[in-house]
């Protein structure tokens, strides 16, 4: 499981995360909601070790992310999908997917390639495996990004606003794949602005506000009038999102 205890993170004088406590059990789908600047993406970047935390502790299956020796193990257990895809532009879709399995997990190249093709096939990109990122649409790129993360067979999938850079049509094609993944028992931590989608796939909703964890409730309770909606900030956020 992923355990976050009293996490604090500041950029200079700006406190971004202010004492976050959160645990995520294997198999759970947890959506993290909150307005822009509430610290959602930073939280993900702390879990995968891209940001150094100022205080507190994050462990992934008991491997401490702040310990350089344990970070490698922690990272093997989690896969990240990025908002801006972050694909390697000089590698084909397939090579994007197989690079880490071959280099980090020391998988046999031919095997990794076979699995990579199967993964791309499963997201409808079987015929685009040899295309470079520049030749793919945004939605296709993000699907490659998802395959790249899945190729490492992560226990935890960290999704950082994966549809924010996509238009509605492409958003739909990516969300469809994510919905499919939840059906297969993948643990997902899903930072998003897609409230309706979060509601449809999540077991739990976590609401961040100004770097604090304001609400952590089962999905149904969160959207209930006497549950999360009873919190003024949550109600305000949800009504604003509905208008958009």
């Amino acid at each position: 499981m992923i355990r976050i205890e009293n996490l604090k993170k500041a950029f200079g004088k700006v406190t971004v995360l202010d004492g976050i406590d959160l645990s995520i059990e294997p198999g759970e789908v947890v959506s993290i909601l909150g307005s822009s600047g509430s610290g959602k993406s930073t939280l993900i970047r702390c879990i995968n070790g891209l940001e150094r935390i100022d205080a507190g502790r994050i462990t992934v299956d008991d491997f401490d992310v702040s310990n350089p020796k344990e970070l490698a193990e922690a990272r093997k257990r989690s896969g990240t999908v990025f908002q801006l895809f972050n694909l390697y532009p000089h590698l084909s879709a397939l090579r994007n997917v197989t690079l880490a399995p071959v280099e980090v997990l020391k998988r046999n190249a031919a095997e990794a390639e076979k699995e990579g093709r199967a993964l791309l096939e499963s997201v409808g990109l079987g015929d685009r495996a040899d295309a470079y990122p520049a030749q793919l649409s945004g939605g296709q790129r993000q699907r490659v990004g998802i395959c790249r993360a899945l190729a490492m067979k992560p226990r935890y999938l960290l999704l950082d606003e994966v549809t924010s850079a996509l238009d509605p049509e492409m958003t739909a094609e990516v969300l469809e794949i994510l919905a499919d993944l939840t059906g297969r028992g993948t643990t997902m931590i899903f930072v998003t602005h897609e409230v309706a989608f979060a509601r449809s796939i999540s077991d739990r909703i976590v609401f961040l506000d100004q770097g604090r964890l304001l609400v952590d409730l089962p999905c149904e309770t969160f959207f209930a009038e006497d549950g999360g909606m009873a919190n003024a900030r949550v109600a305000q956020f949800l009504s604003k999102m509905r208008k958009d």
Binding site: F82, N86, L87, P89, Q135
Partner: protein, 223 residues
């Protein structure tokens, strides 16, 4: 021998001179590119004192005339350390180090041109700093650097002509000799100039070819 017209043997002389120029150019370029790239890797790994030292030395090499550097190596260093340095050795060291300094700057900026996001992606998936350098940064940095490197090498070929001053019999020196003998400067220097031009053109064409190969992945940007 009286002052005389050109003879068939002059072609051999010119080709010998060209050979010396090209040999110096190719060897110093090879050493310079390898050394410059290695220094850039030192910077990538943030080796503390080495980084400051490299910056200082490359700054000195970039911002002083090659001719002055050549005089320092050929006259200055032998005088200080009481050692013998042949003109060819002096020319080799000076040009190799000078090329390395410029290559260093090109490679550093090429490495810095790679998006941070890709490097983060590599790190997140567990690639080590070295693996990120080898599989993510280097292939793209090489493609990015090929253009500026080609321009640098074309320029360094012309710079080799300076070594004739300390007595290396390169193409320029051969031109000088022929000019003294025939007293036909216009013809001599035109021929020498054309030979430099042809050599430079070949370097530029080769560089362009390599660059197109390396950037093939971005050729469809508009799609």
């Amino acid at each position: 021998m009286r002052y005389a017209d050109f003879g068939p043997h002059d072609i051999v002389l010119l080709l010998n001179g060209l050979g010396v120029s090209l040999t110096l150019f190719l060897t110093t370029s090879l050493v310079g590119v390898v050394l410059g790239a290695l220094l850039a890797v030192v910077r990538y790994y943030r080796v503390l004192v080495a980084r400051e030292l490299v910056t200082f030395v490359t700054e000195m090499l970039k911002n002083s005339p090659v001719l002055v550097q050549l005089f320092l190596v050929f006259f200055g260093i032998p005088a200080l350390f009481k050692i013998d340095v042949t003109p060819f050795e002096a020319a080799f060291f000076t040009l190799a180090l000078n090329t390395a300094a410029f290559v260093y700057v090109i490679v550093v900026s090429a490495v810095e041109s790679i998006d941070r996001e890709q490097i983060e992606a590599g790190r997140v998936f567990g690639l080590t700093r070295w693996q990120v350098l080898r599989h993510v940064i280097a292939p793209q940095a090489v493609a990015f650097a090929t253009g500026p490197l080609t321009a640098l090498l074309v320029n360094q070929l012309q710079v080799t002509s300076l070594i004739s001053v300390i007595g290396v019999v390169d193409l320029t020196k051969v031109g000088d000799i022929l000019n003294m003998r025939t007293l036909k400067p216009f013809i001599v220097w035109t021929v020498v100039g054309v030979l430099y031009y042809l050599a430079a053109k070949i370097i530029a064409l080769a560089g362009g070819f390599v660059e197109r190969r390396l950037t093939a992945h971005s050729a469809w940007k508009g799609l």
